[in-house]
Amino acid sequence: MELFWKAIASALMAAILGVISGKINKENAVMIAISGCLVIAALLGGYLRDILDFLKELETLGNLRGEMLGILINCAGVGLVSELSAMICTDSGFASLGKMIQTMGVVVVLWLSIPAFRTLLNLMNTILGEI
């Protein structure tokens, strides 16, 4: 939980510094917000690593097919990075850029899940052939 409190403290400090420096120079406020986000993302990595380790344990325990979980892990990673980037762009005043990053993230998530759709489609074709 130490990382969590550190992240909260970093976010609050970045917000306060951003508000104060924003009155003097808006660019500085944006830079502080970006730094805060990066610090929180780095701290988040610590938790995500544990979650991924646990998922690997589950994978070993259940003798699971790695590709299916791999798709979801990649989707989660792409989602987190694109959301973070989109929010930074929006905060910097480039909302259109942020929107494009989000759209890009959605498209990449769908692209990543194509093997899952293909497996489902093959399975449905097999079932329809049997009926």
Binding site: G62, L120, L123
Partner: protein, 345 residues
């Protein structure tokens, strides 16, 4: 093992002496002890079948547990998507639904095929057992009842069998497809269609079993009474119209009828066990998956991913429908066999 022994010789009951034709028979008692475990009561026999089945369920439990772990792991990851914006959340939900549906559909497909095979086996076995029971009941004097029961069982059995294979099993596939689509898109209309299909399947099964049970009950009462009256009249006729030996013949006919009843009961009890053996293994296998999926749905709900919880619940409902279908096919055979066993009052 030497099953055949020269010292066990059966003399022909058709008057041929042992010198003319020696039949070397198997040591039935010894062979029986080796092949068939001893069961004194119906309950003991049933318990022996169940005990033999439990080791067969281990691979299925392992497979179900594997699927369950995969779904729980996927749910953990999908719960991360819920912090994303709407567009990303929708895309991630679609990816999650496709991943989980493909894992679940793989095991569901094999179970649906197992249920279809079981229903077919029970139906085919019924086609062998019921003529035997009909003949035995007719020999016991229940000519009207046996004909009515056989006609009813055959008609309802065929209706149920063809409905299951041509309507209800495709309905289960459609139900699963709608459940997957509803989970991916979150459309209310799809979930309503899905519920409609589930209700339709349950209603058809309930209706067929209710009508069948009512038919069996009414037929049993009406034709059973008629046959009993006809038997009494026949006995009285033999007793009074045949001079001198009429009474003896009437008593002898009672012994013949009792022998026919014994043969019918033996065939009936064996038939019940055989139907149970055909039914119990697939039923317990599907039941295992049903229970594990229920447990998985409860675990997934902890992560707060409602769409995935609903998807897993829908797959467990599909397993429930499969259980109901196999049970309906089995109950139909059991009810008809028991109706034949009741015999003539």
């Amino acid at each position: 093992m030497n099953l055949f022994s020269e010292d066990v010789i059966i003399k022909s009951s058709f008057g041929i002496t042992s010198t003319g034709m020696n039949i070397v028979a198997p040591k039935l008692q010894e062979y029986g002890n080796l092949q068939v475990p001893e069961a004194e009561t119906f309950g003991e026999g049933l318990m022996m079948i169940v005990n033999d089945l439990i080791p067969l369920l281990r691979p299925d439990l392992y497979e179900a547990a594997k699927v369950s772990i995969a779904i729980v792991a996927a749910s953990m990851l999908i719960s991360i998507f819920h912090s994303f914006s709407d567009g990303m959340k929708s895309a991630a939900n679609i990816a999650g639904a496709a991943t989980i549906a493909s894992s679940l559909l793989l095991s569901a497909n094999s179970l649906i095929r197992l249920a279809a095979q079981t229903i077919e086996s029970i139906s085919e076995y019924g086609k062998l057992l019921l003529p035997v029971m009909t003949a035995a009941l007719a020999a016991q004097g229940g000519v009207g009842k046996s004909a009515a029961l056989y006609a009813g069982t055959t008609v309802f059995g065929n209706i149920l069998s063809s409905l299951l294979s041509s309507v209800l099993l495709p309905v289960v596939y459609m139900f699963l497809a709608l459940a997957g689509a509803s989970c991916a898109t979150g459309e209310d209309m799809l979930s309503k269609f899905r519920d409609l299909l589930k209700k339709l399947a349950s209603w058809i099964l309930k209706m067929i079993l209710t009508v069948f049970t009512a038919y069996m009950g009414i037929t049993g009462v009406i034709s059973g009474t008629t046959d009993a009256a006809a038997l009494k009249v026949t006995k009285a006729t033999i007793s009074s119209f045949v001079p001198v030996v009429g009474g003896i013949m009437s008593d002898a006919s009672e012994a013949v009828l009792l022998s026919a009843a014994m043969a019918k009961n033996a065939a009936g009890i064996y038939g019940i066990f055989a139907v149970l053996v055909l039914f119990l293994e697939p039923f317990l296998k599907i039941g295992c998956h049903y229970m594990v999926l229920k447990l998985t749905a409860a675990t997934c709900s902890v992560f707060g991913v409602k769409s995935i919880t609903d998807l897993v619940s829908d797959f467990s409902s599909a397993m429930g429908l499969l259980l109901a279908m196999t049970a309906a096919a089995c109950i139909l055979q059991l009810i008809s066999t028991v109706s034949f066993l009741k015999g003539v009052a």
